[in-house]
């Protein structure tokens, strides 16, 4: 959940910056941001481990303050962010690219600041795409398994994600526990998707008219 919120804002803003950036590094930056999507989660997990682990650069830096994030709740969140971020970023950027450029120009000629253009025009107009991206991201975070296992382990009540709980419950023969978790994740996912769809069609109805 935390990961979804972080990705939502991070993905939104970075996608917007990338939409407006047309420099020569665009292709490279885009590839790097999308990379976690195509890598196996264990590879992403391994990379995070190298970075924030006890001997990694970030891990070393944090150790000065006596903070250890590996195999903690934070590590689970970071793993989810890294793995699910490209989904939000790519889908949102696609939605931004679809916006009629005249809408953004119109907002600017009316004296809107870039922040206003973003929050009042770009985000609301691209909302269906952003909503879809958020739903996807949430689903991905909820289902995160590989990378989380690598960096956060499975500490019940702390770093154990639902899919990991299901995996270990099944392994341990506790089919009842696994089933309960399966039903819970099923319910959450369905609820999110239904709310998402309902909200979309409601908004559309409100703005749709007789004109073409």
């Amino acid at each position: 959940m935390t990961a979804t919120v972080v990705i939502f804002f991070l993905g939104l803003i970075i996608a917007w910056l990338m939409t407006n950036y047309n420099g020569k590094w665009k292709g490279l930056i885009d590839s790097i941001l999308t990379l976690p999507l195509v890598l196996p989660p264990t590879v992403a997990g391994f990379a995070i481990l190298l970075l924030i682990g006890k001997n990694g650069p970030v891990g070393n830096f944090l150790e000065i303050f006596g903070v250890n994030i590996i195999f903690s709740w934070y590590a689970a969140v970071i793993a989810a962010i890294v793995v699910a971020f490209p989904l939000m970023y790519k889908t949102t950027m696609g939605a931004f690219d679809q916006i009629d450029p005249n809408l953004l120009s119109a907002a600017r000629t009316l004296g809107a600041s870039e922040a206003k253009v973003f929050w009042r025009v770009a985000v609301p107009v691209a909302r269906p795409g952003i909503a879809a991206a958020t739903a996807l991201t949430f689903a991905r975070c909820l289902g995160e398994f590989g990378a989380t296992l690598m960096v956060a382990g499975s500490i019940p009540g702390k770093t154990e994600t639902i899919p990991i709980a299901i995996y270990f419950a099944t392994q341990g023969g506790e089919m009842q526990v696994a089933l309960i978790w399966v039903l819970i994740i099923f319910a959450i996912s369905l609820t999110v998707l239904v709310i998402n769809n309902y909200w979309e069609s409601h908004k559309k109805k409100q703005q749709r008219g007789f004109g073409g």
Binding site: S105, T109, L110, V121, G209
Partner: protein
């Protein structure tokens, strides 16, 4: 009211190089698509930064490459009407109009919006969304939104191209009225000479990024000063000609000589006569000047007017074998059925123009 625009902007292999200054209030920019008209509006509004030059509107410098001035769009106060109106689909009509009014208090904002809604005949549609109103209403909303910020200059980019013919004529009259009320400069871009003529007092003709000619609209339409202007203002009969004397020219291709009112200076050039100024007459006048015998090579009927493709001096061999195009009403065309070929045309010396090569 005064503006000075003198800018250069390079974009791939296209070069915009415009120098224009005027004290007029409504100026039409007429040019074919790709002639850089829209780019000019984008430079003035600040959406695009020119490479060099200056833009001064009402003694306020928007841009000056030498003094390193480039006002932000927020400080420019420009009203821009986009071709597709660019209304924000996620906001109601009232919210759209109020979009640029953040500096005002809530009551002032509401007052301004309702005053504009009243003035632009928007009635009680303030709570609707842009897709729920008609094309004409959308245009008025877009104009109200642009004017709401009290701009120094209003820029209209092909304002009627999204409307159907019926609505277009209606909106042109309405727009003409609304523009007269607007206290400021208006620059509007179009590829349609009729729109330009109806709305503007002065017209600038654009060709490949340059101002071909700028002047009072009647002068431009009556005696265009260049070949390009003649073409873009819709002259259908343009042909190479040579000077015989101050008021007489020869058209070798047609094998005729014509008398003109316009004084002819260069030796070689092109002569033009508008298709609607070529008159068919029953009997030639006594003096015989500018009367010619013609045969019909082809004709094309419109709902109210007919275009005739005529050959001067001899019978045409095919429908493509013609010299001059002539536009007449259906009644005049039907009248021809009472006569027999060859018919006689009269080219009024008043409307013959001659342009340099």
């Amino acid at each position: 009211m005064e503006f000075v625009i003198d800018i250069k902007k390079r974009l791939y292999d296209f070069q915009l190089d415009v120098s224009l200054q005027s004290k007029e209030e409504i100026i039409g920019i007429l040019g074919a698509s790709g002639s850089g008209k829209s780019m000019l509006l984008r430079c003035i509004s600040g959406l695009v930064k020119p490479d060099e030059g200056q833009i001064i509107i009402n003694s306020k410098t928007f841009f000056d490459s030498e003094k390193k001035i480039n006002l932000s769009m927020r400080d420019r106060k420009v009203g821009f009407l986009f071709q597709n109106y660019a209304l924000f689909p996620n906001m109601t009509i009232a919210e759209n109009i109020a979009f640029g009014l953040d500096k005002l208090s809530k009551t002032e904002k509401n007052e301004r919006v309702s005053a504009l809604m009243e003035k632009y005949h928007l009635g009680d549609i303030g709570k609707r969304y842009p897709t729920q109103i008609s094309g004409g209403q959308q245009q008025r909303v877009a104009l109200a939104r642009a004017v709401a910020v009290e701009p120094d200059i209003l820029l209209l980019d092909e304002p009627f191209s999204a409307l159907d013919v019926h609505l277009r004529n209606h909106m042109m009259r309405e727009m003409s009225e609304l523009l007269k009320e607007f206290q400021g400069l208006t620059l509007f871009v179009t590829h349609n000479r009729e729109e330009a003529y109806r709305l503007a007092d002065y017209i600038a003709v654009f060709k490949t990024g340059k101002v071909e000619i700028f002047g009072q609209k009647d002068a431009i339409f009556k005696w265009p000063a260049s070949l390009e202007t003649a073409k873009i203002t819709g002259c259908k009969n343009i042909v190479a000609a040579t000077r015989l004397s101050e008021n007489r020219l020869h058209v070798p291709q047609w094998n005729i000589s014509l008398t003109t009112v316009m004084k002819i200076e260069p030796e070689n050039g092109y002569m033009g006569i508008r298709a609607n100024q070529v008159k068919l007459v029953d009997e030639p006048d006594d003096q015989q000047e500018n009367y010619f015998k013609v045969w019909i090579a082809d004709e094309s009927d419109g709902p109210f007017r007919t275009s005739l493709y005529l050959k001067i001096g001899s019978r045409p061999e095919s429908i493509h074998d013609f010299h001059i195009q002539c536009e007449i009403s259906r009644e005049e065309r039907n009248h021809l059925d009472n006569l027999s070929e060859p018919f006689v045309i009269y080219i009024n010396p008043e409307f013959v123009f001659f342009v340099d090569q």
